[in-house]
């Protein structure tokens, strides 16, 4: 059924549609990898280097398939990890009329989680009479946790257990991280009862959807074949990020046993990084599998940058640097390293700004994307400098940057909305974030609203509050939020915002007094001590402007995780601390003494680096492969001895010392 769906003459058409010109996928210098990748429809894993344009390739294939797809009952399944990736695919597909059809029945384009929910877990739970109200780990765990008697909670906390213990991993509500409180103990029974009670009321954690999906496949093995019938062709984007759970489930649905589907995975095993430390990659059906199609040609950066960073790949790829792309009129720059000490750590960013202003003309500074990223972005003030982004820029607000985890405070809902609104002036995000947060607070206070609804949170609020006095409170509350553009100073919140919010949540949840969980949710977080700092940072959006009085360049700050998949003009990779300083540990790779994540020892055996080092390599490979023109790193000066700096200089690095600048008048 897949023969002739993508024909030779379609390749130039698709390339033009993607804005690459008709020869976008044509062979270059005898390298047919992109052309062949376009035409292949067998099961294969595309090992795609940074900047190889794999999402473009995927969308181009989808655009051709959309035109030719003849089936009404069968569709193409496109799985991504993040909603952002899904939206990117959707936007690009929207360029062609046929492409739009792929976003609708019978096709599926979405995250793995939403696929598992929509096609397995939710139908199964519904069939078992469970009304799924809300899939939100925080709310589900809080409801279950506060169901436990106070003394039980105290006992659990003494054993270093948190509400996270209330998540289960078996359809009989057992398992989970309960320490010594197994199901045979009275406390374990209480835990299971609370899990069961709120699951039956429709509150679930995100990951529990996998439990129910697997339960369906255990009880109704034919469901996997039904889905294979529905989706005979499956694409998985960013396959290197699949967790073991995801990979095993997807393998079970689409590949295990007879009649596997055609499956194409896109990814880069060198960039496999996970949202939380400690998460491991997939053991089942790991990426890449046996059939690999390499895409080693990067359209992002030049060959010299490629040579500089490829050693950081755990499995070094023969990177071909075919960049940078022509949309910034500038030549690739020499990589630069910024050296600092405890005193000068906060001068790294200004130095970086100055370096940018010196390296690029005004047009490039205006059009380009400039970022500074750190592997760790939640700051421990007392950690060893540099611990995280906060040491470099004290006003950095980690909650804004965290895109993929659910917010767990009212303030974070607003912060994220501010981040997403990013100065557009549209109120929609703020209003709905406020409404969603109030609904979440009400759930925590014991109300039952459910989140699986077709209306926007704001519409639902208006419905719920229809005729009560709280409607006026709600409108006044929104007015307050809009007038401050979603920002509150802590006292302002206490005096004006909080009383309104409490009144609204009381009416919503139908309770006279909000419980501890809801109150904690509504409380304003303490502001980091920074008020004496000069207000040179646009605090809400984590933008660093340089020079502060008359900005010529804006540098976006974030975690390495947050810039995954992005392309920047220049990227500054800041050292940070997790068990040790990341970049310091990677110094041998920076100096060229080591390359890759393994070496062949003198007995001819391949020996891998430790898992922590492998993690560091992947994380910083992601960071260092972002820029098109300029790669910078920032590290402590005392990590290097003079000889090592000479090696760096010899490898084409520019060394910029921040220490002297920060302490001009040393006593």
């Amino acid at each position: 059924m897949f023969d002739d769906l993508i024909r030779e003459q379609d390749v130039p058409w698709a390339a033009s549609l993607m804005g690459l010109g008709p020869n976008g996928f044509a062979p270059v210098d005898g390298d047919e990898s992109r052309f062949q990748a376009m035409r292949r429809l067998d099961s294969v894993d595309f090992e795609a280097c940074p900047g190889s344009g794999k999402t473009t390739l995927l969308v181009a294939k989808l655009a051709v398939l959309a035109v030719r797809w003849p089936h009404r009952k069968q569709g193409i399944c496109v799985l991504s990890h993040t909603n952002a990736a899904r939206n990117e695919i959707g936007t690009k597909l929207g360029n062609s009329a046929a492409g739009l059809a792929l976003m609708r029945y019978p096709h599926f384009v979405g995250t793995i989680h939403s696929f598992v929910n929509e096609y397995l877990a939710l139908p199964w739970l519904r069939s078992n009479g469970l009304n799924v109200r809300c899939i939100d780990t925080q709310i589900a765990l809080a409801k279950r946790w506060y169901e436990l008697p106070y003394t039980t909670r105290i006992a659990l906390e003494r054993s270093h257990l948190t509400p996270a213990a209330m998540a289960y991993d078996g359809p009989d509500y057992t398992g989970g991280k309960v320490g010594k409180f197994g199901p045979h103990t009275p406390t374990g029974q209480l835990i299971i009862a609370a899990r069961r009670k709120f699951s039956e009321q429709g509150y679930f954690c995100f990951d529990e959807m996998f439990v129910w999906a697997n339960d369906l496949l255990d009880r109704r093995p034919e469901a996997a074949h039904d889905l294979r019938q529905r989706f005979p062709l499956v694409f998985i984007d960013e396959a290197q990020d699949n967790s073991e759970e995801q990979s095993a489930l997807l393998h079970r649905i689409f590949c295990a046993g007879d009649g596997p589907v055609r499956r194409q995975r896109f990814g880069d095993s060198n960039q496999a990084i996970y949202a939380k430390p400690g998460l491991a990659g997939a053991e089942t059906d790991p990426f890449p599998g046996a059939a690999v199609h390499p895409l080693p040609r990067s359209y992002r950066f030049s060959q010299s940058l490629a040579d500089e960073v490829k050693g950081f790949g755990v499995t070094p790829q023969a990177l071909v640097g075919a960049g940078p792309p022509p949309h910034i009129a500038a030549e690739p720059k020499m990589p630069a390293i910024f050296l600092f000490d405890d005193a000068s750590v906060q001068s790294v960013l200004p130095k970086f700004g100055a370096h940018l202003v010196a390296s690029f003309d005004a047009a490039a500074l205006a059009a380009g994307t400039f970022t500074a990223v750190a592997g760790v972005h939640e700051l421990d003030q007392n950690g060893r400098v540099p611990h995280a982004m906060g040491h470099y820029v004290p006003s950095y607000d980690p909650s804004c940057a965290r895109r993929e985890t659910a917010p767990d405070r009212f303030a974070q809902y607003l912060a994220r909305a501010r981040f997403e609104t990013a100065g557009s002036g549209n109120t929609e995000r703020l209003i709905n974030a406020a409404a969603a947060a109030l609904l979440a607070a009400s759930e925590l206070a014991g109300g039952t609203h459910g989140r699986i609804a077709r209306k926007s949170p704001h519409r639902r609020m208006l419905d719920y509050l229809a005729d009560s006095d709280a409607r006026a409170h709600y409108l006044a509350f929104l007015e307050l939020i809009l007038s401050g553009r979603g920002e509150f100073a802590s006292p302002d919140w206490e005096v004006n915002g909080l009383p309104l919010a409490v009144e609204i949540v009381k009416v919503l949840s139908g309770t006279a007094a909000l419980g501890a969980a809801a109150n904690a949710f509504l409380a304003w977080p303490p502001v980091p001590a920074q008020t004496d700092q000069e207000a040179i940072f646009a605090r809400t959006d984590n933008l660093f402007a340089y020079p502060s009085e008359a900005p010529e360049v804006h540098i976006r700050l974030g975690s390495i995780h947050s810039v995954k998949g992005e392309t920047h003009t220049a990227t500054l990779v800041l050292d940070s601390y997790y068990y040790n300083h990341h970049l310091s540990e990677l110094k041998p790779w920076l100096l060229g003494a080591k390359a890759g994540g393994s070496m062949v020892n003198n007995r001819g055996r391949q020996v891998f680096e430790g898992s922590r080092t492998l993690g560091r390599l992947k994380l910083h490979y992601v960071a260092m492969t972002r820029p098109t023109h300029l790669l910078c790193v920032a590290m402590r000066k005392d990590v290097f001895d003079a000889g090592e700096l000479d090696i760096l200089t010899g490898r084409g690095w520019e060394v910029i010392d921040c220490c002297a600048a920060a302490e001009p008048a040393e006593p």
Binding site: R72, P106, L122, N131, R230
Partner: protein, 682 residues
């Protein structure tokens, strides 16, 4: 996949909760039968609303479609129609994976697709939109995702309306149904090649596809000398003088074209029409009637339905019998049944739902395929749903013929065992002001076998949950026990011979002495209980047989007279006898008999002997008796009240059961007495 249950709430005649309409369906063919206004069309329209139809003829929901529980009550706020699909193939389960409901466990595990269609009335004052847009929900409780438009379109049904104008549907024209059907026919789309104007050598028309031929002829039109000439004249004589020198207007004349293939094909197909010919010779166009055209139309729709490889094949036909004579109706029905049993390439079978008023169609179908719609409720007549036993089903499949099948379309049913009842009861009912036609009573003569079997069609096996069919059914049957002296009078025994004892005798007849003690009541109860439950009631003759009972209760002289006329029937018809003479002789003979001092049973037995001994035809006698009674009414010698007093109570009660009760108890009381000679001889 097939629809295994339809549930309708608050739509037209159907109420909510226990008044909701629930209809379980089997795969294959289902015929909805029942009298007018029972709700058959409402069921079909409900299916059309949920599934949509291929002719794209939109059924609009109107505020009056919302159920009104009582004439003064407010209309319901929300209509709910829930369809449960079962028997899903792998392809079906794949196609609807996100909407499925998993049911049961282990061996009983099943997967269903449940679609709940909900439309709400807009109660907002002054709004121009009176009905809010409907929603298609899924899941057992309607808590699943909304059914996507693409998934919905897989469910589209084929709908043939009642009194369809087949000739128009099959004729050429914009948006004609024929063009729609042809456009979806695989052969039309896939046979032959496209036209290529630059092909060398030039195209062979025989190798072209339909669209190719159309394009070819458009091309030829463009090349036509006459058209070229006209174009030249238009350009040179008219447009040139109207143009500016540097901006010439030029005309082109040609068949409109250049659009998308599908559009051009549709325009081409809209020029087609379909007509019937008597022979395979394509040109002998000769007009056929409405009925034949209807068959043609249905054949076309079935062709399309059977050829499709995706989608849910549901065929809805309202009154397939329209315009067809009875034999054609039977042909059509057996053809539809065959179609429903055939498996398509994709493993699906066509599900067919028809509504009908045709006893012909109804009689040709198995009871398993029939659903009686009565009083806005559905009563499937299949195995397990009625009190019919397996042998009853086998029996009825053989014997339920066209004449009996009209019992499905009645408001009340009178089931009798003989010709005499068939002739007499309607006349008596009419004279008692209980005209059977006026009350919509179907009279079914089962001819001596299976009386209870027909009645049990109307008895539900589970009336608690299923409800009761609110159609009164009266079975009229004989007690068949003669008075003790009768065997010698009616010739069962030679005078003087004793009554043989059973066993060893195998005599079939019984007399009262055979039933000592409460024996008679036991026999009567046993006969009654064969079919007396819910709205079905069996009326057992008070004494022996209809004729005996008529004579016994007060019409002795008239029965005697009718028997005499029956005996003389041949002579009367041949003109060798005169009616008045026959009556005169009969009355004289009756006078002698009545004067002999017999008691009532003996006298009545002697009257009955006319049939048993003299072999007067009961049917012909019944005809004469009917005439005599009608004449007596005309002459004013008899009226309804008086007649009722002379009739056997069981016959009166049976008539009352299927019509309306007699409001006074007088008739029944008077029937107890025995008037000697109530009617003046006339």
């Amino acid at each position: 996949m097939y629809i295994s249950e339809i549930k309708i709430e608050n739509f037209r005649p159907f109420g909510a909760a226990e008044k909701a309409f629930v209809l379980p369906l089997n795969p294959g063919l289902t015929a909805l039968i029942g009298e007018n206004d029972a709700g058959k069309t409402a069921v079909v329209d409900a299916l059309r609303l949920v599934l949509g139809t291929r002719d794209h003829d939109l059924l609009r929901l109107d505020p009056v479609d919302f159920h009104q529980a009582a004439p003064e009550a407010d209309r319901a706020e929300q209509i709910l129609i829930r369809l449960t699909f079962r028997g899903l193939t792998v392809a079906d389960r794949g196609a609807f994976a996100e909407y499925l409901t998993y049911e049961g466990e282990g061996a009983a595990a099943e997967t269903a697709l449940i679609v709940t269609w909900i439309a709400k009335r807009n109660s907002k004052e002054g709004s121009s939109r009176r009905v809010l847009p409907p929603e298609w929900r899924t899941g057992a409780k309607g808590d699943g995702p909304l059914l996507d438009f693409g998934a919905r379109s897989l469910l589209t049904a084929t709908y043939l309306r009642p009194l369809r104008d087949a000739e128009r549907a099959m004729s050429a024209g914009r948006g004609s149904r024929l063009s729609q059907i042809l456009q979806h026919t695989k052969e039309i789309r896939e046979t032959g090649e496209a036209f290529d104007r630059d092909a060398n050598p030039p195209v062979d028309p025989a190798a072209l596809s339909v669209l190719g031929l159309g394009d070819y002829s458009s091309h030829l039109f463009g090349e036509n000398a006459g058209i070229k000439q006209a174009r030249k004249r238009l350009n040179e004589d008219y447009l040139a003088p109207l143009s500016f020198a540097n901006d010439l207007l030029l005309a082109r004349i040609g068949i409109a074209g250049g659009q998308e293939d599908n559009l051009r094909l549709r325009q081409l197909l809209e020029k087609f029409e379909l007509a019937l010919t008597a022979s395979a010779d394509a040109d002998s166009a000769h007009s056929r009637g409405l009925g034949s055209n209807n068959l043609l139309f249905m054949a076309c729709e079935l062709l399309l339905l059977a050829a499709e490889s995706d989608g849910f094949p549901l065929l809805l036909i309202e009154e397939p019998e329209a315009h067809l004579h009875p034999q054609r109706q039977l042909r059509l029905m057996s053809f539809l049944q065959q179609q429903a049993e055939k498996q398509r390439a994709d493993g699906q079978r066509i599900q067919i739902i028809v509504t009908t008023h045709s006893p012909n169609l109804a009689s040709d179908l198995r009871l398993d395929n029939l659903v009686l719609i009565e009083g806005a409720r559905a009563f499937p007549l299949g195995h397990g749903k009625t009190k019919l036993s397996k042998s009853d089903y086998r029996f009825l499949e053989r014997f339920l013929d066209v004449t009996k099948a009209n019992l499905f379309f009645a408001r009340a049913v009178l089931i009798v065992e003989g010709d005499a009842e068939t002739i007499l009861l309607p006349v008596i009912a009419k004279l008692l002001d209980r005209d059977l036609h006026r009350h919509g009573v179907s009279l079914v003569n089962v001819g001596g076998v299976g009386l209870g079997r027909y009645a049990r069609i109307f008895m539900r096996s589970d009336p608690e949950t299923d409800g009761v069919i609110n159609i009164p059914v009266a079975c009229v049957t004989d007690m068949d026990v003669m008075p003790d002296m009768a065997p010698w009078i009616i010739g069962k025994l030679e005078p003087g011979l004793p009554v043989p004892t059973i066993p060893p005798s195998r005599r079939q007849w019984r007399r009262k002495a055979d039933f000592p003690g409460a024996g008679l009541d036991v026999r009567r109860t046993a006969r009654r209980e064969k079919a007396s439950e819910q709205r079905v009631e069996t009326f057992v003759s008070d004494e022996w047989t209809l004729e005996y009972d008529l004579a016994f209760h007060g019409l002795g002289k008239l029965v005697w007279r009718a028997a005499a006329l029956a005996l003389a029937d041949d002579q009367l018809n041949a003109g060798t006898a005169v009616k008045a003479d026959v009556i005169g002789a009969a009355d004289a003979a009756y006078g002698a008999l009545a004067g002999a001092g017999h008691d009532q049973p003996t006298l009545s037995s002697h009257i009955y002997a006319q049939f048993e001994v003299e072999k007067a035809s009961k049917a012909i006698a019944a005809q004469y008796l009917a005439e005599i009674l009608e004449d007596a009414f005309k002459a004013g010698a008899l009226n309804a009240g008086a007649l009722r007093a002379l009739l056997p109570p069981y016959a009166v009660a049976a008539i009352a059961h299927v019509t309306v009760p007699f409001d006074d108890a007088g008739g029944a009381a008077a029937a107890g007495g025995v008037p000697a000679d109530p009617i003046a001889a006339g």
